[in-house]
């Protein structure tokens, strides 16, 4: 019996091993018989940016740049930054990557440089660059956060006007809370601790970056630390939202997906979130939602904005020039970017680009808000999203996320929060 079992299992394994021999272990280096160079391309998949979307963008690009064979890789989870770094530490950094933070990789010489000449078509070629050296194509703009709100919740609570100032935000939150609705939705449960930062991001935009655009540079040079009065004010105001019950531990424990679903189902009035959210609600929900900028003290329009997030190329790609050519081409195909607009809510930061038909109502409103900020308001960077120089050290965001959860759960106070950030920052930069 035992021998038979062993034999059967053995035979099965052998058969499958033979079959699988051709699927696994395919080499990823160099050129093949036809002279095409094979390049790996690290992507990520979401319900909107699915396999078909990526494959189509690759096909379109290959039509423009001949002689390239693309092997598409998929990050196994949402944390593609960590995955890219794991691959790098094992010597397997992909040749081309999308939306991987270049910090660290760039300083270590792992990424290929782009010149400003090559980026003629880009609106802000040196955004998030390393003192002018470009390692990641700044193809997309995102505003982080916008305040998305439920019109039904505002109506039910008797909030007639969208809050423009900090005091109006507090007043509106009070009414919403009195109506039995969570005023400001902050999520970050389970593995999604990264998602809890957006309310604080809004406050750091209005309280820190709007007043002192050089805060991060000063932090990097050691001229200031997180006990900077502006930063303390931002955290204190966040604490005020918690103390008054506008940001609650209950919603905090939801994951990003659970939280978004709950907000769309009517649980919560205001949802501070990046502009990518604008394409998530279905058509019916779009009608019920609106958007405004995170309110500043005096009501002036301040918009935290991140421009970057595009492709980068490994300096050890089998053919770096070809890989760069391909990456530049991929980034400029109208349909590729249109897909990013429709599926991921991206604002495309190219001179030669037309917004496609069929964008959602919230997308249009978010984009209008951004354009308004560019013309009439103040555009600032997004805390924790900065790439290049200056930026926060790799891994620092996780500490901020942990500290936020502690603050919301009452495990720490403003002073403890500031101390924790200072300590971690010293640890990571010393």
């Amino acid at each position: 019996m035992f021998k038979k079992t062993i034999a059967a299992v053995g035979a099965g394994v052998a058969a499958v091993a033979l079959l699988a021999g051709c699927t696994a272990g395919a080499g990823s280096e160099g050129t093949d018989a036809s002279g095409d160079v094979t390049l790996t391309f690290l992507t990520f998949e979401t319900p909107n940016l699915d396999a078909a979307y990526w494959d189509e963008t690759i096909e379109r690009t290959n039509a423009i740049v001949p002689g390239v064979k693309i092997e598409r890789l998929v990050a196994p989870n949402n944390d593609r930054d960590a995955y890219a770094r794991q691959l790098d530490s094992t010597g397997e950094l992909p040749d081309i990557m999308v939306a991987v933070n270049p910090t660290g990789l760039a300083e270590a010489g792992k990424l290929a440089e782009f010149s400003e000449d090559e980026l003629e078509n880009w609106i802000d070629p040196t955004s998030n660059s390393f003192d002018g050296t470009i390692y990641q194509l700044p193809t997309n703009t995102q505003t982080i956060p916008n305040m998305y709100y439920s019109k039904a919740a505002f109506e039910k609570a008797g909030v007639a006007e969208v809050p423009q100032t900090w005091d109006e935000l507090l007043a509106a939150s009070e009414k919403v809370k009195a109506a039995g609705i969570t005023p400001i939705v902050v999520n970050g449960g389970g593995a999604d601790t990264w998602a809890n930062i957006y309310a604080l991001d809004g406050l750091i935009g209005t309280e820190v970056y709007a007043k002192n655009p050089d805060f991060l540079a000063q932090l990097a040079s050691g001229d200031t630390d997180f006990s900077d009065p502006d930063f303390v004010t931002a955290v204190t105001k966040f604490k005020e939202l918690i103390d008054k019950g506008y940001v609650s531990p209950t919603t905090l424990s939801k994951t990003y997906a659970e939280g978004q679903e709950a907000f769309l189902a009517g649980d919560g009035a205001m949802y501070p979130m990046g502009s990518w959210f604008s394409v998530a609600p279905d058509e019916a929900a779009q009608e019920d939602l609106g958007v405004f900028a995170w309110p500043s003290d005096d009501g002036s329009l301040i918009m935290p904005t991140y421009t970057g997030g595009g492709l980068s190329v490994s300096s050890s790609a089998p053919d770096v020039d070809k890989a760069k050519e391909w990456a530049l081409a991929w980034s400029q195909v109208q349909e590729n970017n249109a897909g990013g607009v429709l599926n991921d809510g991206l604002f495309v930061a190219l001179k030669d680009f037309t917004v496609p038909e069929g964008t959602t109502k919230l997308y249009d409103e978010s984009l209008a808000l951004y354009n308004d900020a560019v013309e009439n308001g103040t555009v600032v960077t997004v805390f924790g999203n900065e790439g290049g120089i200056p930026s926060l050290p790799s891994g620092f965001n996780a500490e901020v996320n942990a500290a936020i959860t502690d603050l919301v759960n009452g495990q720490t106070d403003v002073d403890g929060f500031i101390d924790q950030l200072n300590q971690k920052y010293t640890e990571l930069t010393q």
Binding site: A191, T193, L252, T405
Partner: protein, 334 residues
């Protein structure tokens, strides 16, 4: 005699790391005369070397290349300030270790790891034994139930974590049920920093329980029924019988489950990553393995991460050594 035998075989099988095989038997076999003359001795030495080369060398070579060298390598990196993002690296002696042993978040991770290990070892053993006693009967029902308890063992930690997360989240199955029976404010099993680590440990106990059940069932099957019957006739109650006979004879089972559970719980990572990401908040469920991976791959501080791994290795080795010694002494006494 029967009692002695069951115990002895267990002892031999499990404590092979530290104890010499029964000497009497060995000497008997040695006595066989086989060699005389220099040539034959030389030939034998060649054969001996050949046997070693065939039987041990392949294992040794693979182990050395894949585990031993990397461990030594890792330990060595722990004495440097290596960072993946910086080309130059220098030797900094014990700085990393000094930093870690005074760093609250590392000490918290250390404490969490020890707490999880303690909970998993104690509760898995206790519940596993209780269930094994309950299932120690023949019949299809008990065979079926044994498989039920064993099934989680073969699932991946990711699967188990996803299933349990759907039960334990704030508005998950458990709290919905609790609310429906009138509990107004059920605890946040995964969202309360004071509770999350116990939820995490309980999930691990659930997953590994079947392993303990199976090992204890095997141990129980090795206890001759005559012993129990004899004690029963002597008037010993069930509890007295358990204390005097069953429990001492299960000592080897306890050793094997404890060592295996320690091995699995010291390096717990997957459950933490899926269920809590080290939170809620600052490190309330972070384990050493979690910290090591975070430090190495996210913060890209390989020197510091290697020092963490070094400390972890020392603690794990010490704990296992102590536990093995204590448990095996018990086996010997009985």
């Amino acid at each position: 005699m029967a009692r002695r035998r069951a115990g002895e075989e267990w002892t031999v099988s499990i404590s092979s790391t530290t104890r010499v095989a029964p000497t009497r038997e060995r000497d008997e076999h040695r006595a066989t005369p086989r060699s005389n003359g220099v040539i034959r001795r030389g030939l034998r030495r060649w054969q001996e070397a050949g046997t070693f080369a065939v039987f041990v060398l392949p294992s040794l070579a693979v182990f050395t290349a894949i585990v031993f060298v990397p461990i030594v390598w890792t330990l060595a990196i722990g004495f440097t300030d290596e960072r993946a993002t910086r080309p130059e690296t220098s030797f900094i002696g014990f700085d990393n270790f000094v930093f870690l042993l005074t760093n609250p978040s590392f000490l918290q991770a250390l404490g969490n790891t020890l707490l999880i290990t303690a909970i998993v070892v104690i509760f898995t053993n206790a519940l596993g034994l209780a269930i094994a006693l309950m299932l120690h009967k023949s019949g299809w029902l008990y065979n079926l139930l044994r498989s039920v308890f064993f099934t989680p063992v073969i699932l991946s930690a990711v699967i188990v974590s996803v299933i349990w997360r759907s039960i334990l989240v704030d508005d998950g199955l458990l709290n919905t049920t609790l609310r429906s029976i009138g509990v107004t404010d059920p605890p946040g099993w995964l969202s309360d920093p004071a509770i999350a680590i116990y939820s995490l440990s309980s999930i691990m106990v659930w997953q590994m329980l079947g392993f303990a059940v199976v090992v204890y069932l095997a141990g129980l099957a090795g206890i001759p029924t005559e012993l129990e019957e004899a004690a029963s006739i002597d008037g010993a109650g069930p509890l007295a019988r358990f204390r005097a006979i069953t429990w001492p004879l299960l000592a080897p089972s306890l050793t094997i489950t404890t060592v295996m559970l320690m091995i699995s719980s010291f390096k717990v990572y997957d459950q933490v990553a899926v269920l809590t990401n080290g939170g809620p908040g600052s490190g309330s469920t972070a384990t050493i393995a979690f910290e090591v991976i975070q430090t190495a791959f996210v913060e890209q501080r390989t020197g510091m991460a290697s020092a963490m791994a070094g400390i972890m290795l020392i603690i794990v080795a010490a704990a296992n050594l102590i536990v093995l010694r204590v448990l095996q002494r018990r086996e010997v006494t009985h």
